[in-house]
Amino acid sequence: MNVYEPFRAGLPPMRAYLRSLWSRRAFISEFSRSQLREQNFGSVFGQLWLILNPLLLSGVYFLLIYIIGGSSDSSRFAHLTSSLFLFYLISNCLTGGVKSITAGGRLILNTAFPRIMLPLSAGVVALFRFIPTLAVIFVIRSIVGLTYSWQMLWAIPILAIALLLGFGLAILISCINVYFRDITSFLPYMVRTLLYLSPVLYEAKTLPERFQKLEAANPIYHLLDSWSQVMVYAQAPSLSSMLQALAWALGILIFGSYFFLARERDFAVRL
C-alpha cells in the first residue's frame, strides 16, 4: 500500500528514497547519454566535439599566454589548461544543473520518481564531457616535457572531491531555480567571476598574501590549487588544502541535498 499525504517541510523517508534512487540508476546513465548525443546531434563532427572543444579551448589560451604573457613558459601553459578543464567540470555542473528541474517539467508532472535524479544526470553529463579533456591534459604535459611521478595518483581523490562539489552545486542550483528563476540569468556572470577569483589564469602562489587568506571563502580555490600541484608539478598536494577542499565539497553537497530533498515534493505544483 502507498499512502500520499500533504507535503510537509522536512526530509522524505530516506531509506525508501535511496532505494528508489538506486533502483533507477539506469535512468541516470541513459538520460545523460541521450543528452550528450542530443547536444552534438546533427553537427558534422558529432561526438568528436567532445575532444575538439577542449583542444580548441587550449589552443585559444595558448595564444593568450603566448601573446599577452610574452613567454612560452611550459609549466604555465600546463597549469592553465589543466586548471581550466577542472574549472569547466565544475561550471558545467552549474550551467547544466540550473535548468534540470524547470526543463524537466513534463516528466515531473507525469511520473513519480526521485527528482534528484535530474540534477545528478546534469553532473554525470559534466563528467562525461570532462573525461576526454583529461586525455588532452596528458598529451599537453608530454609535449611540453613535464615529468611524471607516482604522486600524480593524488589526482584521483582530488577528482572525487571535485565530483562531490559538482553534484552538490548542481543539486543546490537546480532547486534555487525553481523558486528564483533569475538565477539562470545571473549564472554566466557568477561563473565568470568565479573563474577570475580562482587560480586558473594565474597560479595560487603568485597571489599576494592577504588575498590568499580571503580565498578560503572560495569553494574551489584549494581544489584547483591542489589539482595544479599534482597535474603540473607532479607533487603531493598539501594536506590542509585537501581538507579544506573536502570540507567545502561535503558542506555544499549536504546543504544542497537537504535543501533539495526537503522541497522536492513541492516542485510539481510550482512549475
Partner: protein
C-alpha cells in the same frame, strides 16, 4: 508516463492477486493547490517592485477541493468534466506524482499512469528512447522494458517512426505510443488520461478492445475522457468532476446525462465524442 510503484510487486515482479471489490484506491478529503507566478517567471524586478507593497505575484489555483472517492478492484471508472475541472490533477495525486495539499490517498497495488502529456517528455529524442527513459524513470529495469518493447512497438503500429525524433510525430502518433505503453505494462491499476480520443477510428477501436480485455476482476481501470460514447461503452461507474469537486457519481448513463444537461449540450454527434 508509466509509474509502477514498487511496493505491490514482490521480489520477482509478480503481481499479487487482488480480490474483487477489494479497495484499489481510497481518496479522502483530498485538496490540491497549484502555485504559479502570474508573470510566468518570478523575476527580480517583479519581486523588487512588489517587495514594499506586500503584493503577491502568484496565482493560486485550487484544482481539487475536498474530493472523496473509493475505487474498487473490478471497476472501470470513467472520469468526466469540463476543461480545467481537475481530472488530470486527480490522476496525478492518485499516481503519487503530486502530493495532495489536503487529505489522504491510499493506493493498494501498482499504478501505471498515462497522462497524455507525459509520454515523450523529450521531443528531440526518438520514440524508442522516450519509451526507455519513461520506463526507467518509472522504476522499471532495462530488462523489463526490453521484454515489453516489441509488444509496445507492435501495438502502436508506428513502424519505422519509432526511431524518429518525437517532435516529428502527429498528435495521434503521440497518443498511440502513450496508450501502447500504458496498456502493455499491465499494472493493477491502469490510469488512461485523454489518450483514448486522439487516435484514428481504427486505432480507437483497437484500444477500446484492449481496454475491454484489461477489464478483469483483479484490476481497476480509470479512464479520463471527453468521449461520452466511449465512457458509456466501457465503464461501469462514472464520476463527474466540476471545479475540483465531485458533482455526481454513479451509473454511467445517468451521470453522463446529468453532466450533459448541466453543460446544456444537446445530444449531437459532437457531444458523443468530444464534449
Amino acid at each position: 508516463m508509466i509509474s509502477l510503484s514498487d511496493s505491490s510487486l514482490d521480489a520477482h515482479g509478480i503481481h499479487h492477486e487482488h480480490p474483487k471489490n477489494g479497495i484499489a484506491v481510497s481518496i479522502t478529503h483530498v485538496g490540491l493547490t497549484y502555485t504559479t507566478s502570474i508573470e510566468k517567471r518570478p523575476t527580480l524586478k517583479k519581486r523588487l517592485t512588489s517587495l514594499g507593497r506586500g503584493r503577491k505575484y502568484t496565482r493560486v489555483v485550487k484544482a481539487l477541493n475536498d474530493v472523496s472517492l473509493d475505487v474498487h478492484y473490478g471497476t472501470v471508472l470513467g472520469v468526466i468534466g469540463s476543461n480545467g475541472a481537475g481530472k488530470s490533477s486527480l490522476m496525478r495525486v492518485i499516481s503519487g506524482i503530486v502530493p495532495p495539499s489536503q487529505g489522504r490517498v491510499e493506493v493498494y497495488g501498482s499504478v501505471s499512469t498515462l497522462l497524455a502529456l507525459g509520454v515523450g517528455f523529450n521531443p528531440s529524442l526518438t520514440g524508442r528512447a522516450n519509451v526507455y527513459l519513461g520506463g526507467l524513470a518509472a522504476g522499471m529495469t532495462r530488462a523489463q522494458i526490453d521484454r515489453q518493447f516489441d509488444e509496445i512497438a507492435d501495438f502502436s503500429e508506428l513502424g519505422d517512426a519509432i526511431d524518429v525524433p518525437m517532435r516529428t510525430y502527429s498528435s495521434g502518433m503521440f497518443a498511440r505510443l502513450a496508450f501502447s505503453v500504458a496498456a502493455t505494462v499491465k499494472p493493477d491499476i491502469l490510469i488512461v488520461d485523454e489518450a483514448l480520443s486522439t487516435g484514428d477510428a481504427k486505432f480507437k477501436e483497437k484500444s477500446l478492445n484492449r481496454i475491454k480485455e484489461l477489464r478483469t476482476d483483479d484490476r481497476a481501470l480509470i479512464l479520463v475522457s471527453h468521449a461520452m460514447a466511449t465512457i458509456a461503452d466501457v465503464c461501469n461507474e462514472v464520476v463527474w468532476l466540476h471545479k475540483g469537486a465531485v458533482m455526481m457519481r454513479g451509473e454511467p448513463t445517468a451521470t453522463i446525462k446529468a453532466y450533459q444537461d448541466f453543460m446544456q449540450v444537446r445530444k449531437s454527434a459532437a457531444s458523443d465524442e468530444d464534449v
